[in-house]
Every structure is written in structure tokens, then in C-alpha cells.
Subunit: 126 residues, 2 copies
DNA sequence: CTTGACCTTGACGCCGGTGTCAACGCCTAC
DNA sequence: GTAGGCGTTGACACCGGCGTCAAGGTCAAG
């Protein structure tokens, strides 16, 4: 199938697919006229990438997953490199959550300091 | 004082101060030779802005705080517009935290699905 | 032959807060 | 005079994942 059909089926834009190829993920073979030709397996790759992007992964993060699928594994996350990325991502997310919680506390503190009584309506702000 | 001294005292770069001015915050008066001239009050403004940026506010968010300080209030957060920004920011932060928690759960779920036993070492992943 | 839907590559725009460089002016000290 | 340490404006670079437009090639249907 060509890029338009794959894009429709995967729910992405052709531009995104070309970008993925430019980044070295999901490289298509070319027809005689220069058009990109994709197979069914590529649809799975795109869906995997989109799922990863949706949960905050970068394209760089998605690389091992694509490689894992292309290596024939049923799940993109079942290879050691993918698992490593999973772990790293979990750590990053935890860091961000901690940062946000600290910020939230800081902002809430500033608010209650600048405008006493403004935050009181809630209970668990101690 | 001129821009270099203010920058040193506030712990920011002259470039940042020019940018704040370009954005309409902390506009300096000009000396005869065109140099920016700042007063002590401006130091407080810069410090306020930096404190807000440090907790995730944008320059746009910082605007009411600067206006509040320039209006003579002791705290930049004690004006109604500032309080509104505080509240909005708290809501935004809470949203981000919720999003991150959902992502964390999703990633942890995918990891445990792709690699059963990888996540088991911890207890509170239910 | 022409239309029109599809494809190609290349390149700029976006967002925010700067860093960095260019090319120049001001002012003091030697 | 001149060195050099300050200031000025203007403009490009960055990051990521595309959107969007430009200018053109391909191919099937009418």
C-alpha cells in the first residue's frame, strides 16, 4: 500500500510517516516510480509508534520497539532494549510527578501566603 | 543601575532582561546615551519573575504579578488578577499530574504485559 | 488530452526563553 | 590615541513533531 492508505488506516498524516522515515523509523521500500510502498507489518509499526507517542515517548524512545517488532517479536516491548526504555521512562515520569507535586505545593503556599483564606476551602492542602 | 549590574544582582543574563522588556515586562527608562537605567524596585520585579518562572509560570502568567508590584503592593500575588493566575496554575498543574499518573499506570501496565515479572518487585502498582 | 487525486522533495513556521554572534556606539583609564 | 569593558539592536539557533505551502512528477479515468 502507499503512504496515503497507510496514513488513513493508521490515523496519522502522510507528513508524519515521512518524518518517521526521515528519522530512520519505518523506512519504506520504493516502487519503480519512487512512491513509498508499505506492507501490513508497517501498519503495526506505525500503530506501535503512535501508542508510544501517546503515552509521552519520543521517537527516539520508540526506536527499540520498532526494531523489536521488525525482529519478529509479537510485542514491541518484549526485547531487552525496550524494557530498558520502559524502565527509564517510568523513572522519568516519576521524576516529573515529583517535580510537579513540589511545584504544586510551592504555588499553593505562595497563594495562601499572598492571599490568606483563598486556599482554605479545601482540606488536604497541609 | 545599568543592565549588567541588575543582571548580576538578580542572577539572570542581560539577554533575559532585554527579552522581558521586549515582552512588555520590566521596561527600563533610558539614559541620555541610550543605556537602560533600572532602579531598586526593578530588582524586586526581576526576582519575582524568576521565582514564578522557576515554578513553571510563563512570562505571560507573570504579567499580573509585575503589575501588582508596580501598583505598590508588597506581594506580587496579592492582587485579584494574580490570584486568578495562581488558581489557574494550580488547576493546570493538577491536570498535568493526573495525566502523568495515567501515563505512569499505562506504561507500567504495558511493561508488565510485555515482560511479566519485570515490575513485580514493587508493591503499590495496582 | 486533460483533469484531478495522489505522490515526490525541500523548506519555512510554530512554541518559549533564552544563548550566542555580529557589528557597532559609549566611556574611562592609561 | 587606544585598549577594553560596558552598552545597543538585530538576527539566527535550539528543541520535537509535525502543519503547510511550493513546485513538480505519476497515473487512471473521462
Amino acid at each position: 500500500m502507499r503512504i496515503g492508505e497507510l496514513a488513513r488506516r493508521a490515523g496519522v498524516s502522510p507528513r508524519a510517516l515521512r518524518y518517521y522515515e526521515q528519522q530512520g523509523l519505518i523506512v519504506a521500500r520504493r516502487a519503480a516510480n519512487g512512491y513509498r510502498e508499505y506492507g501490513e507489518a508497517d501498519l503495526r509499526l506505525v500503530i506501535e509508534v503512535r501508542a508510544l507517542l501517546a503515552v509521552g515517548f519520543t521517537l527516539e524512545d520508540a526506536r527499540p520497539f520498532v526494531a523489536c517488532l521488525r525482529a519478529g517479536h509479537e510485542s514491541g516491548g518484549s526485547c531487552p532494549d525496550s524494557v530498558a526504555v520502559y524502565r527509564r521512562k517510568l523513572a522519568e515520569i516519576d521524576d516529573e510527578i515529583r517535580t510537579l507535586l513540589a511545584r504544586r505545593a510551592e504555588v499553593a503556599g505562595q497563594l495562601s501566603a499572598a492571599c490568606p483564606g483563598c486556599v482554605l476551602r479545601r482540606r488536604e492542602d497541609s
